[in-house]
C-alpha cells in the first residue's frame, strides 16, 4: 500500500495561473518508469494530479516542477502530497466529486475516465493503478446511488429545469419561451433543450440576436411584438434581457393568464435588473423565480450536499478498506498460503464425494495431496523467484483465490 503516492495541485492549493502551467501527461514521465512502476495523470480546469506506484517520489516531483516551470520548493507550496492509504482515499474522493469545487458534481468522473483512457493508451498503468481506478469508478457510482449528493441541482440553469420538471413532469411537450438573447438565457435555454424541452421560441428586441440564438439552439425567432401572444401559448419562460425596467408587468400577466385559462406557467427571471414585476407571482398558477430566489435554492442545495458528503465519506472508507485487503492479498507468501488452503479444501471435497472410510479414505487423501502439491510446486517456485504484482495477481485470478477477482472488469 505504501507504494502508491500522489501529488495534487488544485483550486484549494493554487491559483489558476499556476494550475494552467501545471498540465502534464503520463508521457512526460516515461523515462522515469520501468516495468515495475505505474503512473496516472489527471488534468482538469480545477486540478492537476499525478499518481504513481513504485516510483521515486522525489523524481516525480522534480519532473512535475520542471514541466510547470517552478522549483521543487515552489511546487511544495502550491501542492499537497498524499501517500499510501491517504492517496487512495484522495483518488476515490476526486472520482466521487467530493473534492470538487461544486461538491458532488458528476463531470469529474468522466474526466477521470478520460484520463485513464489516455494512460491506457500510453501503457503507464498496470495491476495496481488499474484496480485502483476501476475501484474509484465503482465508488463514485455507489456514492451517487446510495446518497442524495447528486440529487439537488446546484446551478441556476439546472434548478430552473428541475422546477419545471416538478410542475410539468415530462417537459418534452412543453414550449419554452426565451425573452432576451444574453449568455444566461442561452445557458438556461440550452439546459432545457438538453433535458428534452419540446420547442423553443426566442423573443428579443434585436431580431438578429434572436435569430442567432435560435440558430444555435434549434429554436424559432419571433419579433418582440409577439411577446404577449407567445406568453399565452408557452409553458416555461426564461427572461434575461438588459432592460432597466420590467418588461412583463402584472397587468400584462393578468391578461395572459386569463387568455391561458389559468394553465400553469413557470417564469425564470434571471435578469438584473429584473424583467418581471414581482407582483406577477400573485397571478394564479404562475410560478415566478427571480435570480435571488434561485440562488438561495442553490445555496440550500449546496448545504444539503455537504450533509450528504458525510455518508459519501463512509462509503469511500469502506471501499478503501476493501482495496487495502486486496493489496495485502497481493503478497507472495499470502498467495502461496491461499494456494495450499485451496488445495486442502479441494482434497477434502474429493474424499468426501468418494464416500470412502478409514484407511481407504486416508490413502486417497494422501495420494491426491502428493499429486496436487507436486503440480502446485512449480507455481510456488515461480512466485518465489518472480514475486511481481502482475504475477501474483495472475496467479490469484487463475486459481480464483479472490471471490471478487472480476471486480476490476466491472468498474
Amino acid at each position: 500500500m505504501n507504494r502508491i503516492g500522489c501529488i495534487t495541485i488544485s483550486y484549494k492549493t493554487a491559483p489558476v495561473e499556476i494550475r494552467e502551467k501545471a498540465m502534464v501527461s503520463p508521457g512526460d514521465f516515461q523515462d522515469l518508469m520501468s516495468r515495475e512502476t505505474e503512473l496516472f495523470a489527471l488534468n482538469t480546469c480545477n486540478r492537476t494530479e499525478v499518481y504513481w506506484v513504485g516510483m521515486d517520489e522525489g523524481a516525480v516531483l522534480a519532473r512535475l516542477a520542471e514541466r510547470s516551470g517552478m522549483s521543487v520548493e515552489e511546487l511544495g507550496k502550491v501542492s499537497r502530497v498524499h501517500r499510501g492509504r491517504d492517496a487512495l482515499n484522495h483518488l476515490f474522493q476526486v472520482a466521487s466529486g467530493l473534492d470538487s469545487l461544486v461538491i458532488g458534481e458528476a463531470q469529474i468522473l468522466g474526466q477521470v475516465k478520460e484520463a485513464y483512457r489516455t494512460a491506457l493508451g500510453d501503457k503507464t498503468t498496470s495491476t495496481f493503478l488499474d484496480k485502483a481506478l476501476h475501484r474509484s469508478f465503482r465508488t463514485a457510482k455507489r456514492v451517487r446511488t446510495e446518497t442524495d449528493i447528486g440529487r439537488y441541482p446546484v446551478s441556476v440553469a439546472s434548478e430552473a429545469v428541475e422546477l419545471a420538471c416538478r410542475i410539468f413532469g415530462d417537459i418534452a411537450r412543453s414550449k419554452v419561451l426565451v425573452v432576451g438573447a444574453g449568455d444566461m438565457a442561452n445557458i438556461a435555454a440550452a439546459r432545457l433543450k438538453d433535458r428534452g424541452a419540446g420547442s423553443l421560441v426566442i423573443v428579443n428586441r434585436t431580431h438578429s440576436a434572436a435569430c442567432t440564438l435560435a440558430g444555435e439552439l434549434g429554436g424559432v425567432p419571433r419579433p418582440f411584438e409577439a411577446l404577449r401572444e407567445e406568453l399565452v401559448s408557452c409553458d416555461i419562460v426564461v427572461a434575461s434581457t438588459g432592460s432597466p425596467v420590467p418588461i412583463i408587468a402584472k397587468s400584462l400577466m393578468d391578461e395572459v393568464m386569463k387568455a391561458r385559462r389559468n394553465r400553469p406557467l413557470i417564469i425564470i427571471d434571471i435578469a438584473v435588473p429584473r424583467d418581471v414585476d414581482p407582483a406577477v407571482s400573485k397571478c394564479y398558477n404562475c410560478y415566478l423565480y427571480d435570480i435571488d430566489a434561485l440562488k438561495s435554492i442553490v445555496d440550500r442545495h449546496l448545504t444539503d450536499r455537504q450533509g450528504q458528503a458525510e455518508k459519501a465519506h463512509a462509503i469511500i472508507a469502506q471501499e478503501v478498506d476493501l482495496f487495502e485487503k486486496w493489496v495485502h492479498s497481493l503478497n507472495a507468501q499470502a498467495t502461496i498460503r491461499d494456494l495450499f488452503s485451496l488445495l486442502d479444501s479441494y482434497v477434502q471435497d474429493e474424499v468426501k464425494q468418494g464416500g470412502l472410510d478409514g484407511d481407504e479414505a486416508a490413502r486417497l487423501e494422501q495420494g491426491m495431496r502428493t499429486s496436487l502439491r507436486r503440480l502446485i510446486h512449480r507455481v510456488v517456485s515461480f512466485l518465489k523467484e518472480h514475486p511481481s504484482l502482475a504475477n501474483i495477481e495472475h496467479t490469484r485470478r487463475i486459481f480464483q483465490l479472490d471471490g471478487n477477482y472480476q471486480d476490476r472488469h466491472k468498474g
Binding site: 422546477l163 394553465r263 400553469p264 394564479y284
Partner: protein
C-alpha cells in the same frame, strides 16, 4: 381472513411506501407494492367471505359502507402504485386507510336480518353508486393533500428530499380532475337512485330530510368545485382546496348522520 389481518397488511405496506419517501431504493418500493397488492387481495377475500355468509353485498351498515369505500379506493391506489410517476401516493393513502379500518373493525359484524325494504333494485344501485363516488372523492382528497404539500414546496423552492419522488403537479391535477368528475357523476346517480327507491317504497320526504339535506350540501360543494375547475379553470391549488373542504364536510355529515341520528334515513340501516 379477518379484518385485523387485512389491517395489518395495509399498515405494513404503508410502512414500505413511507420508507420509500426517505430511502429511495427499488427494493423498498417493490416490497411496498407487493404488500399493497396482497392487502387488496386479502381485503377482497374478506369482503367475499362476508358476502358468502349472508348472500348479500356487505354494504348494509355505515361501517360496512366505509369498509367498501376503503376497498374501492385501494383498488385505485394499487393501480397508481404500479406506475412509476405515481408510486409514492400509497404513502399518503395507506395510513388513512389503516386508520379508517381500525376505527370500523369492531362494528363490521352483520347488522341482523336485512329488511325487505332494502331488497328493491334501486337500493343496491343507490348504495353502490354513492360508495363508488365516495371512494373516488377519497382518492381526490388524498391527491389534493399531496398537491398542496408539493405546490407549497415548489413555490418556496424548498422541495424536501422526501418530496423528490412525488408526482409532478400536472399529473396530480389530472388525477384530481378525473376522480372529481367520475365521483360527481357517481354521487349524482346515487342521489337519483336514492330518490327513485324512496319514491317506489313510498317513504315520506320528512323521514329523509336530514339525509337529503346533507347529500345536497355535499353535492353542491363538489358541483361548485367541478364548475370552477372546468369552466373557470381553477385547476391546481384552488380545486385541491375545495376538494379537501368538500370531502371533510362529507365525512363529518356521514359521522353526524349515522352516529348522532342513526335513523336519518328513517330506517337506521342506511349508509
Amino acid at each position: 381472513m379477518t379484518i385485523h389481518a387485512v389491517l395489518l397488511l395495509y399498515l405494513l405496506s404503508g410502512t414500505g411506501f413511507i420508507a420509500y419517501l426517505f430511502w429511495r431504493r427499488p427494493a423498498v418500493i417493490g416490497a411496498g407494492r407487493v404488500l399493497f397488492a396482497l392487502s387488496v387481495a386479502a381485503h377482497l377475500v374478506f369482503i367475499a367471505s362476508m358476502a358468502a355468509d349472508t348472500g348479500r353485498l356487505p354494504v348494509l351498515s355505515p361501517a360496512q359502507g366505509a369498509n367498501m369505500t376503503v376497498f374501492l379506493a385501494s383498488l385505485m391506489f394499487v393501480f397508481f402504485a404500479f406506475r412509476p410517476s405515481t408510486a409514492v401516493l400509497g404513502a399518503f393513502f395507506l395510513p388513512v386507510a389503516g386508520f379508517v379500518l381500525g376505527l370500523i373493525a369492531p362494528s363490521l359484524a352483520q347488522p341482523g336480518a336485512t329488511p325487505p325494504i332494502l331488497l328493491r333494485i334501486w337500493y343496491p344501485l343507490h348504495t353502490l353508486s354513492v360508495i363508488g363516488g365516495e371512494a373516488l372523492f377519497a382518492v381526490a382528497f388524498v391527491v389534493s393533500g399531496v398537491y398542496l404539500i408539493h405546490d407549497s414546496g415548489i413555490r418556496k423552492g424548498a422541495i424536501h428530499s422526501a418530496a423528490m419522488s412525488l408526482p409532478p403537479l400536472r399529473v396530480l391535477d389530472r388525477i384530481l380532475a378525473v376522480t372529481l368528475s367520475l365521483g360527481f357523476v357517481a354521487i349524482t346517480a346515487g342521489m337519483i337512485f336514492g330518490a327513485l327507491w324512496a319514491s317506489s317504497m313510498g317513504v315520506s320526504f320528512s323521514h329523509l330530510a336530514a339525509k337529503a339535506a346533507a347529500g345536497a350540501l355535499t353535492w353542491l360543494v363538489f358541483a361548485f368545485s367541478i364548475h370552477q375547475r372546468f369552466a373557470i379553470r381553477w385547476e391546481g391549488r384552488r380545486t385541491a382546496l375545495i376538494t379537501i373542504i368538500g370531502f371533510t364536510l362529507m365525512v363529518l355529515l356521514f359521522i353526524v348522520l349515522n352516529l348522532a341520528y342513526p335513523n336519518a334515513h328513517g330506517l337506521g340501516l342506511m349508509t
